[in-house]
Symmetry: C2
Subunit: 232 residues, 2 copies
């Protein structure tokens, strides 16, 4: 258990971190492409998101296998083990983010060319930008082992939820104005919901990362929009 | 590494299995109560689901800690490690099932007393029954280490998706008939979607369980409704 072993464990952990970061970059690219394909009715771009999802699944399996090999080989104790299990959990959230982006991309054809009213397109793009910023900020804070930055990220989710609620209301208005909008708006509603859920998964990642970095749970005291609105 | 140690590891693993089974029973009870509270506009029952969710979160933490202690103490090799990591993953899916049930319960107040048309109530209850059967069957097959039964469960999800699609269409019809139905129907749409997503999580559990039991991935060859409809 000399210094050499310790260094090697850290190298293995760095490798896991790189895989987490790669997955997060792929996830962010998928979210961005899915939103763009929806707003621009771009079927080819939507198709790319679908094939990226297969890549995301493969990367998760790769990370899982690397993590399990690492545990078997190094047999790490509490704190190191926490980091490895943390990486497995983050990979699971990133894989779900890929799924949700894919589900947005799959609605592109259903929404069709006449699809997204300009105001809504703007609101959806704003949501997507917030999510992308949340992903990048969270992963940077994790890789940099920056607990304070991770704690600060938790306002992101609140902000995304506020945007979601506003998109939700906007969509209800369109549906009430003209029943012919209902089918399209329902698809857009699920797209907005998926962006909101992606935000939830990034929040999970931040909570997990915080636990890896500090060994403590993030204090539970976050604004409880959950109790006031049934918006999820 | 005598027989005594092996037995003890198996006992520890049995303990994890019991925790998984407890969480699955709690999850099933939450799904059932959430659906009933929605259909019967039963706010008190909905409230119980909300407090059950806190219990579910606590159970997941308990399982995670037991699993991590087990890895640290026993330092299991490949196959045993797979079982422990599998339990952690199943617990994560069960916790998400609790969240989704909670989200149904939170919509009970918004849907209100006049809420669910009889036909829809019937369809939602049928979906919920399918999900409950899927949860029980999957966990029994896992605890019994029955790979064939796990493989057979994968049709469940297809069946739930078919019900979801029909509820989705029914809801669109109500919305188009009368714009005053739109807000309520939107909430019911998310409830139906949540039941469908619970089915997806149970399918994840079955796939994970299959991997624990056999060491192989479930063959990917399941009906790909994903490619034909944007229904998620």
């Amino acid at each position: 258990m000399g210094e050499h072993t310790v260094t090697s464990f850290d190298e293995d952990l760095d490798h896991l971190d790189r895989l987490v970061r790669d997955m997060s970059e792929l996830g962010a690219a998928m979210v961005q492409a899915a939103t763009r394909s929806l707003i621009g009715s771009d079927n080819a771009l939507a198709q790319r998101v679908l094939s990226d999802d297969a890549l995301m699944d493969a990367r998760q399996r790769e990370l899982d296998e690397a993590a399990i090999r690492l545990i078997a080989k190094r047999q790490p104790m509490a704190q190191d083990l926490r980091a490895v299990v943390g990486a497995i959990r983050m990979a699971a959230d990133l894989e779900r983010i890929g799924d949700l982006a894919k589900n947005i991309a799959k609605r592109v054809a259903a929404v069709g060319a006449g699809g997204t009213p300009r105001n809504l397109a703007h609101s959806l793009e704003a949501m997507s930008d917030l999510v992308l910023d949340q992903i990048h900020g969270t992963i940077e804070a994790y890789v940099g082992r920056d607990a304070a930055a991770l704690e600060a990220r938790r306002d992101d989710d609140e902000n995304i939820d506020i945007h979601y609620t506003s998109v939700f209301r906007e969509l209800l208005t369109y549906m009430m104005e003209d029943p012919r909008n209902i089918t399209t708006c329902t698809h857009l509603l699920f797209c907005a919901k998926n962006l909101e859920r992606i935000g939830d998964h990034v929040t999970n990642i931040a909570e997990n990362a915080y636990y890896v970095v500090t060994g403590s749970l993030l204090p539970l005291h976050r604004p409880k929009r959950d109790e006031t609105t049934p918006a999820d």
